[in-house]
């Protein structure tokens, strides 16, 4: 049982690490602000989400597990909002119905 849990953790954390790597490459390589933001949100949302999911399999204390999920949800909120604000600033205050 614990072997299966370890395997799930390994898979999820590795996938999360992949999204962080891809997001970072995108942040460095993409040509304009909006594309770079797009790459960055993938690292925050999916990367962190998968890493949290992977760590959940190792948690014994349900409250500690809840805290991990709360960290992910708060990062989603902050990341999404900051992305909107940066995109707004990058467009020079124009709101162009951009979704990230």
């Amino acid at each position: 049982m614990s072997l299966a849990l370890d395997a799930l953790t390994f898979l999820a954390v590795a996938a999360g690490g992949f999204f962080f790597l891809a997001g970072t490459v995108g942040l460095l390589r993409f040509p304009d602000t909006l594309s770079r933001l797009h790459a960055l949100t993938k690292a925050d949302n999916l990367g962190l989400g998968l890493i949290v999911l992977g760590l959940l399999f190792q948690m014994e204390d349900p409250f500690a597990a809840l805290k991990l999920v709360a960290v992910w949800l708060l990062t989603l909120l902050a990341g999404g909002a900051v992305t909107q604000l940066i995109a707004h600033a990058a467009l020079g205050g124009r709101s162009a119905g951009v979704t990230t």
């Binding site: 708060l74 902050a78 909002a81 909107q84 604000l85």
Partner: protein, 311 residues
């Protein structure tokens, strides 16, 4: 081990980059990244209390202060970067930096083995404070005078900054009044985050007696929530002449100082607590202290009065 090596190289690299950055805004971004890396190093050194403080105060709040400063400097920055200090001054600054670094390196390398420590004494006597977190015991009992002086320094810094206000704005509210935008992203974040943030702040403050946390970290989160509310335009900053605000600012240090003085009568020394009431007295100090620190930090970020006082 590999992780520690990567962290050490990264932190030195970011530090050099921050010092070398010509643009103030870029330097502030470097400083915030530097603070987060230092916080990670504190975690690796098994000092989560210091890591929390570094992340919240050293990186987050100080970063916010410096961002505000760099925005204010924006107008004059072009001229300021043109004037390089003279060769002699640069040489003197480099010499002092090298000497201080060499002194610090020598100190660390020449420490006796085992290094001198008071940790066993703290561990042996912690029961007398009624606390379980040794860091909080040091901050609130054994070295309470340091904490008291730190809070006083914060207040002095605030008074010093307020004194930068021009005469006709004296007594007014700090910072600009941000317009409220009911459909704005920031308004949404503030409304969702505020209750969560306040809960987290109370939690961090409360667990300080048994686990990493305490009044400074909790107060920083309180302050951040206040700053968020004013940035989103949900609330205006209070005018600095308001009496209730002044009372809130001095409540913590005043209670701390009063209980410290009472220590002469009830326990025989300044800032000494009688063993039976130590935990209770520390709690009575910590609650107003947290509110005072939070108010001071938020007002430090808000800046000097910029709005016309209403007379």
């Amino acid at each position: 081990m590999a992780l520690d090596a990567v962290l050490a190289v990264l932190v030195v690299g970011v530090a050099v980059w921050t010092v070398a950055a010509r643009d103030t805004f870029a330097a502030v971004v470097g400083f915030v990244a530097f603070g987060l890396l230092v916080a990670l190093i504190w975690v690796r050194l098994a000092a989560p209390d210091v890591a929390l403080t570094e992340a919240a105060l050293g990186s987050g709040l100080t970063g916010g202060l410096l961002l505000g400063a760099s925005t204010r400097l924006g107008r004059t920055e072009a001229e300021a970067t043109g004037e390089l200090p003279g060769g002699l001054l640069q040489f003197a600054a480099a010499t002092v930096s090298v000497l201080v670094s060499a002194g610090l390196i020598a100190l660390v390398l020449l420490l006796p083995e085992p290094a001198p420590t008071l940790a066993p004494k703290v561990a042996a006597n912690i029961a007398a404070t009624g606390l379980q977190n040794p860091v909080t015991a040091v901050l609130m009992a054994y070295r309470a005078i340091d904490t008291l002086l730190e809070v006083m320094v914060l207040l002095l810094a605030l008074v010093g900054m307020w004194s930068l206000a021009p005469d006709h704005l004296w007594g007014g509210a700090p910072g600009r009044r941000e317009p409220a935008d009911p459909d704005g992203v920031l308004t949404f974040v503030a409304q969702v985050l505020l209750p969560v943030g306040i809960l987290v702040a109370i939690h961090i403050f409360w667990v300080g007696s048994v686990a990493p946390g305490g009044e400074f970290q909790g107060a920083t989160i309180f302050a951040a929530m206040w700053i968020l509310a004013t940035m989103a335009g949900l609330a205006n900053t209070p005018p600095v002449m308001r009496r209730s605000l002044r009372l809130l600012l001095i409540a913590g240090p005043a209670v701390f100082f009063a209980i410290g003085l009472a220590g002469f009568a009830i326990a025989g020394a300044f800032l000494a607590y009688p063993a039976d009431y130590a935990k209770l007295l520390i709690l009575i100090i910590e609650i107003p202290l947290t509110l005072s620190i939070a108010t001071t930090l938020a007002l430090l970020v808000a800046g000097p009065p910029e709005q016309e006082p209403q007379r």
